[in-house]
């Protein structure tokens, strides 16, 4: 019974070293046929996108991440040449660093500090976690991916004795991302405090003409690599953003690109059943009712893929989480994504998955190869890897028994090639699914609102501190001060900002009861 359905819906793609099993999604027999017309429209749209139409009309941009691994597809020879030259430049730069031709303030570069956030951090973090090998990697990698001062201090403190051997890669397309700019300034201050010239350690990956590029030129940083406006942050892993850190770590970036290119070839097929990306998109559509009605739980049974769910969380939620469809209708789309790794997560929440709210589907990621070298038998004839595999299969069965849907993706191993393949596969799934639900997957209008509001908070803070400084010692409640600075509608924000300033010793607070009578002075 399940064997028959499995025979029908377990689909190996040998050229990719990938198998897709959709047999545990209870879609009815006619479902694929009923979706064939919209799927063909999605293929046609994807073809247009790959050919260079303005697939992101709101931002007036082409969407070109597929060209990164097959430059010959780029719509102009100039773009193709830029891609090819950039990959060559990355490999050459990494080779010079590894050979000690490009030297740090003192000796060879042995450490790499990557500064970026969102699309400029998660890809490099995923690759670092998935492909790093202690004792084999050419450089040890750390990240600044936030503007948390204590987090920055912790990372820089761990590098303290090795700053002189540290190469810093700053990644920001616009050059204006505050978290990244702050990380850069904090790192530069640490280098200066150590008597080192930051510019002799710094590399920029950024868009042409950005503030970051200007800084890198003015201060004569070691190198610059491009980010193009036709590559979005969340699909930039196979541009310089991901390739430079990977190459510096010693990872085979040609294999990553080749894996992605092979996945592109297969996921470009216009025959739905031969296209794993199309089938995944259709499963998402069926399970979530085309409106995100269920969450996607991503469970790779492999420690190296711990960050893959976080990577997909960004790719899927930022691409699909949209208020309007392409006709301007309010749709509030998206699919929530979470997960860490199996079997670890079984001990955290398989209880709820099996018995609790049925508001999710699981994507299991099965890795066939257990380890390099010989395996210990933990029981007669049984290895640790057999247990890991058994837990995956057991949980998959335990969920099916309770009518919880799951998809299983099987890969041979975790390698540069496989990782490039998985990234490309899911980029295509997201693109096709976006066509099915008729949204623009390539913009992120909702991110601006929070940034703008944060800017408002910082302006308010400036007004508040100026007012307090102008009348030192005079005590104000949040209500009085926000009125005094002409922002009576922002009393709540003013209170929050004043508490934060006081907690950091920058102004004084006299706590009172009720708490809103608390006064602040400079």
């Amino acid at each position: 019974m399940t064997w028959d359905r499995f025979k029908q819906h377990h689909l190996p793609f040998p050229s990719l070293g990938l198998a897709l099993d959709i047999s545990r999604v209870p879609f009815p027999d006619g479902f694929l046929a009923s979706m064939e017309a919209p799927m063909q429209r999605a293929f046609a749209e994807m073809q247009g996108l790959e050919a260079g139409v303005i697939a992101n009309p709101d931002e007036g941009r082409m969407v070109g991440h597929y060209w990164l691994r097959t430059p010959s597809l780029a719509p102009t020879a100039a773009i193709a040449a830029e891609i090819t030259q950039t990959v060559a430049a990355i490999k050459q730069f990494a080779a010079r660093v590894h050979a000690g031709e490009l030297r740090a303030s003192r000796g060879t570069f042995t450490r790499l500090l990557v500064i970026g956030i969102g699309g400029s951090a998660l890809g490099p973090q995923l690759v670092h976690q998935a492909l790093g090998r202690p004792g084999v990697d050419r450089m040890q990698v750390s990240f600044l991916d936030n503007t948390d001062p204590d987090g920055i201090d912790t990372t820089l403190r761990a590098l303290r004795d090795e700053l002189a051997q540290t190469l810093v890669v700053v990644i920001s397309k616009s050059g204006g991302t505050p978290e990244t700019r702050n990380g850069q300034l904090e790192a530069a201050a640490a280098f200066q405090a150590a008597g080192l010239t930051f510019a002799h350690h710094a590399v920029a990956i950024t868009g042409a003409g950005s503030k970051l590029e200007q800084t890198a030129i003015r201060e004569e940083w070691l190198a610059r690599f491009p980010m193009w406006d036709w590559v979005g942050g969340r699909t930039s892993e196979l541009s310089a953003v991901g390739l430079l850190p990977a190459a510096l770590q010693g990872i085979d970036i040609d294999a990553m690109l080749a894996g992605a290119a092979e996945a592109d070839t297969v996921t470009r097929r216009a025959v739905t059943r031969d296209n794993p990306a199309a089938l995944l998109a259709l499963m998402w559509y069926h399970i979530t009712d085309g409106r995100g009605a269920k969450d996607m739980v991503v469970l790779p049974y492999k420690d190296r893929l711990l960050l893959f769910s976080r990577y997909l969380q960004q790719l899927v939620m930022e691409s699909l989480g949209k208020e309007f469809d392409r006709t301007g209708r309010v749709v509030n789309q998206g699919i929530a994504v979470y997960g860490n790794k199996g079997s670890t997560d079984q001990h955290a929440y398989v209880q709820q998955l099996r018995e609790g709210v049925n508001n999710f589907f699981v994507t299991f990621i099965e890795v066939l190869r257990d380890r390099e070298g010989p395996a210990l038998e933990v029981d007669p004839g049984i290895t640790s890897g057999d247990y890991l595999h058994g837990f995956l299969l057991g949980t998959r069965d335990a969920l099916s028994e309770k009518d919880r849907s799951s998809i299983t993706l099987t890969v041979d191993e975790v390698s540069p090639r496989t990782l490039g393949m998985l990234i490309a596969l899911y980029e295509r799934v997201v693109g096709l699914y976006a066509s099915l639900i008729n949204i623009n997957a390539y913009h992120q209008p909702g991110v601006e609102a929070g940034k703008k509001a944060a800017g408002g908070v910082l302006s308010l803070q400036a007004k508040l501190t100026t007012a307090l400084a102008a009348q030192p010692g005079r005590r104000f409640t949040a209500e009085a001060l926000s009125t005094a600075v002409g922002s009576p509608g922002q009393t709540e924000l003013a209170y929050k900002v004043l508490q934060h300033l006081a907690a950091n010793g920058r102004i004084h607070a006299t706590q009172a009861t009720p708490w809103w009578e608390t006064t602040f002075h400079g």
Copy 2:
């Protein structure tokens, strides 16, 4: 307008250094009053639980994690004495390790390897991440929290040159958790390969009479610490499970316990409005309609709290994700939890939170203190911490504007005391909420099914390998072999197991088309 609601529903708890803001949850005026009777019942049940009734009837167990930080509350003097003696023994053991009185095979112990999974790993991992200080910690900590052979290899390889200075703490209540047992066996093999006696490096934290205890006694491990049947895994952080690794790392465990005890005092109050745990439970109830209708997105704006959402994911989902209520009615309860940290996650999925499916509420965790020591100005008068704080407030506003609910928890700083307080706070929220929805929060019947199914997979594997070994060279399809071993209903599993064995060179596969004609031989 918002200021008035904020005045009413922003509630500081100064003795905890905590404030709870529920003003951004749009519950109507009469809601708290309407829930007062069930809330009082929940308080009464909690009182019974703390007094030692069998609050987990399915397993016939008391639920005693609150006694861990206030032993005087324990129902018997013997239990109280055990708790107190264990904390003293932990501190003494850590002091002897730090002083070099307890020595490794060669020299002082400088590394700590913790082996555990689920409740025996996430707490120690959270504490390690939240409170670790490079250069200050007494020992460097790593974890084996899975049965992934490659993950085990990676962790052990990183420790390779320092195994002689490594103390290993193995944590398993039953002593029978396969992931932990496998991790222990793999680690022991690595010690043996390095010419070291594992027992001279090993400490057990386990239940009385467990297999792990027997091994530790027989092999004369360095020490043993107890796990009690009245402490569940997911609430064991303030037992030896969490306290021993923390003490070894150099963290002030008395402060952790004191923070938890203070939170217990406040969350024991039977006046709803004075009890932050009760208010949080009521907000969960209101927002999720008492049936998990929305996901909980946990966003601490502080790198140190990155794992707090994963910790809560386990605590909440394993406790609340239940098929039956306490009367045996099918309820399929639970609340899905995910999140990493702000502002980083803003770049990953605030797009969807603001614009997409409105199927969640956010819990912001605001930490007032930015960093130790002076702050760099990244703009005139503005620090990196101001940006972090501004992003939190800005995102909070941006979500409210779009009718997305949020709760904000404010703490002064991330310290042992605060962390103990947060852990205790959420343990109480989960307990009270479970009363409101009438479920047993302290068992996990759904976990067994997956384990049992995994056991079935391993039995099947043994049958398959035995059959292949008995007829070397003879080729079987999965279908033929599963029939031959008398498991014709398990052909799908047999195929998966055979593919896994073949990928690891333990049997041979001859791939065919269609794939189910693939044959396997020994």
